[in-house]
Every structure is written in structure tokens, then in C-alpha cells.
């Protein structure tokens, strides 16, 4: 990549100004986020249809989920979103130490989230509350509960994969932050990773009531 302007080390050659590059990046990121929403959206539609075909099984099955753990994870993720936006703010206002600190905090919360998810998953594995043909829970009164767990694992699993992806992305911007790449003149990667992280949070905001809070 030829760098045309020594004053703008991260300006790619085919852009005229940093603004143009920043805005193009944002458009690209938002389009990507939309594809993510639709990807999850397909699962939501499938969930909606299966739940309306089989409401009793879904309602019965969700009692096997631990609301406290789900609630904790919701709070953890919301707070991590807050630390992320603070990191972006720090980058924009040229506070590099705060940027590094908030990114690191976000990583910690992401780790906590996955830790809690691990506890939940191992509990489900133990009880045989597994998707599809692996479902082996005994003593069900309502048939078809495996469907709920199919969706539970697919939705939280896909979400978990996105958390892992987010951790990778945050590690990448964290490394670049430590190297001092970002400033108020150039913080596009921080901003875009932030957007991605908020989307992961946003999807969980829907997953939590749909999976844990069926009344």
C-alpha cells in the first residue's frame, strides 16, 4: 500500500482524505452488521415459528435454564458495551492510556461472559439437555423439548462464536493501541470494532428474554 502523505500514515492511496476513508469504513462496517443481523434473524424467525408450533414444550424446557446466570451475563455484556464505548471515546480524545485500560476491561468482561457461559453449558451437558438427537434428559412431561435446546445451543453458540471473534478483534486493536497507532486523527479500527461489539451486545439483548424469560 503506497502511503502518499507522511502526515497521514494510515491513509490508503485510493482515498483523498481521512474523512473519506473513515466514512467508507463505517458504511462497510454497518453493511456487515446488517448481514450479521439477518444471519441471526433467520434463527429468530425459525425460533418464532417453532415456538408458536410447540409453545408448551418451549415454556417447559426453558425452566432448565438458570435465570440468575442469564441475568448476570446480560449485565456483564451491557457493562462491557459501556467500557467499549468509553474506549472509543478515549481514542477520539487522544487519551491513549485510558484507551488501553478500557479495551482491557472490555476483554475482562468478555472473558467473564464466556466463563459463565461455560458453567451453563457444562450443566446442560451434564443433564443431557442437548440439541437434536443428543437430547437425553429424562422425565420430561411435555414432548419436543429437544427443539428448544436445539435453538438454545444454536443461538447462544453462534453468539458465543461472535464473542470469540470480538475478543480477537479487541486484542488486535489493543495491540495497536499499545503501539500507539491511534489518535484523534485516526481511530477507525477502534470505532469499527466498537460497533461490532455493540452489535453482539444488541443481539444478546433479544436472546436473554426469548430464551430465559418465557413465562
Amino acid at each position: 500500500m503506497s502511503r502518499t502523505d507522511a502526515g497521514e500514515p494510515f491513509l490508503q492511496h485510493h482515498f483523498a482524505t481521512p474523512e473519506q476513508q473513515f466514512e467508507a469504513g463505517k458504511i462497510g462496517m454497518w453493511l456487515f452488521l446488517v448481514t450479521e443481523i439477518l444471519l441471526f434473524g433467520g434463527l429468530f424467525v425459525g425460533y418464532g415459528l417453532m415456538r408458536s408450533r410447540n409453545p408448551a414444550a418451549f415454556s417447559e424446557a426453558h425452566h432448565h435454564l438458570d435465570r440468575i446466570l442469564g441475568l448476570t451475563n446480560t449485565v456483564v455484556l451491557l457493562v462491557s458495551s459501556f467500557t467499549m464505548v468509553m474506549a472509543v471515546h478515549a481514542a477520539r480524545t487522544d487519551r491513549r492510556k485510558r484507551l488501553v485500560a478500557f479495551l482491557a476491561l472490555t476483554l475482562v468482561f468478555a472473558g467473564v461472559f464466556l466463563g459463565i457461559k461455560y458453567i451453563e453449558y457444562s450443566h446442560k451437558f451434564h443433564e443431557g439437555l442437548l440439541p437434536g438427537k443428543f437430547y437425553s434428559h429424562k422425565g420430561d412431561t411435555v414432548p419436543g423439548q429437544f427443539q428448544f435446546f436445539s435453538f438454545y445451543f444454536m443461538m447462544t453458540g453462534l453468539h458465543g462464536i461472535h464473542i470469540l471473534g470480538g475478543i480477537g478483534a479487541i486484542l488486535w486493536v489493543l495491540r495497536r493501541s499499545v503501539q500507539g497507532h491511534f489518535s484523534s486523527r485516526y481511530y477507525t479500527p477502534v470505532d469499527l470494532v466498537g460497533l461490532y461489539w455493540h452489535l453482539v451486545d444488541l443481539i444478546w439483548i433479544y436472546l436473554f428474554p426469548l430464551l430465559y424469560l418465557i413465562s
Binding site: 502526515g7 473513515f22 458495551s81 471515546h89 481511530y187 460497533l195 428474554p209 424469560l213
Partner: protein, 117 residues
Amino acid sequence: MSSDLSQTQHHGGPKLYAGVLAALLVLTAITVTASYVDFGSPAVNVVIALAIASIKASLVALYFMHLRYDKPLLSIIFVGGLFFLGLLLMLTMIDAGTRASVPYWNSKPPAGGPAAR
């Protein structure tokens, strides 16, 4: 032209973000509480839960994701995506909800007629 991006964008600050976080936590508490209340029909609970979730999602999108301060194009992209997802949900549900061997507009065929019209 200044290339300092912070000059051209206003995104709010820590105080606003903390306020949004507080609102999100309160709404989370409300949604958990609401799930214990019997509103007469499970459908009402679903609607309430989804409505609160949507408020929370809007807060995240507007403030954490800066949509409120960004160019409208980004909001159009976001809302556009939701629109097409809604379309998939709606038309699929219309099919699933009205699937019967006899269409609703003619559920009582005239007895004995050769062609029920």
C-alpha cells in the same frame, strides 16, 4: 481542511454513556420482573419482553453506536436491514398461521355444489 475527526463528529461523552448504561440496567430489571407477572396471555408477555428489548437495543444503537450523531445513511442501512428481516418474519408467519386445507375465505363450502365458488 482539518483532518482531526473529533472536530467533525459529536458523540456525547462519559456522562451520557453512564446514563445510557444505567437506563439499560433498569430496563433489564424491568423485563425480568415483568416475566413473573401474569398478563392474562403468554402473548402479552412476549410482546412486553420484546418491546423492552427493542427500547434497549435502540439505546445501544443510538448512543453506543452513535447512530444519533452519524450521517443518516448509516441509520438507513440499519433500519433497512431490520425491515427486510421483518418482511421474512411477517410473510412466513402469514403462511404458517393461515395454513389449513380449506382457505379462510371459503371455510363453508355450499353443500352439494359441483364447484364451490
